[in-house]
Amino acid sequence: MPKVQTALVEVAHGAVVVDDRLAMGYEMAAARSMETSDSLVEYRAQMRLWDDAEAILRTVRVALVAAQESMQAYEAGKDAGWEIALACVVSASTALAEAASAVGIDTPPPLRKALDFLGPFSKKVCHGSL
């Protein structure tokens, strides 16, 4: 499934772009929130949306590596649940796009295209909290 692997690579590149944008935005938001907050609780509350995006970004990274490994296992003749792994990549990346949008960060078009391509492959349900 070379096209699926290519799409996974595109999603990974997209995740790196989103990560760079998020990191820059997080830094500025943290500095602003530290100035305007009177307590750690208030600071955490102001940073909630950014923290959500950071947590989902970590999930996307894990899902991508798991999907690639399951694809490689499938190509080696083992059933490693690649359809579920792809479903996790799609749902986590879609959640990342939403979380990034909530803090004003756009999803790179190649990432959206790759997700559109992977969508039909992910008919299984991603188990977990996503």
């Binding site: 690579v9 990974a12 830094e27």
Partner: protein, 61 residues
Amino acid sequence: MGPYKQVFDILEVIGDIIYAISKLVRSGKEEDVSQILGKEAHTTLVKMRTDLEALHRWKAP
């Protein structure tokens, strides 16, 4: 400038050839997702650092 320009022109051509070869090699082999992602997300590193700053700011005695 004459001889220097020739040297630069030759170096530029060599650079283009190396770039073209590396592009060919890369197109023949899929990239690895782990390598693209790197060891840690930048955002996570920024969060860890700013969390420490926030803790220091409000929790320090």
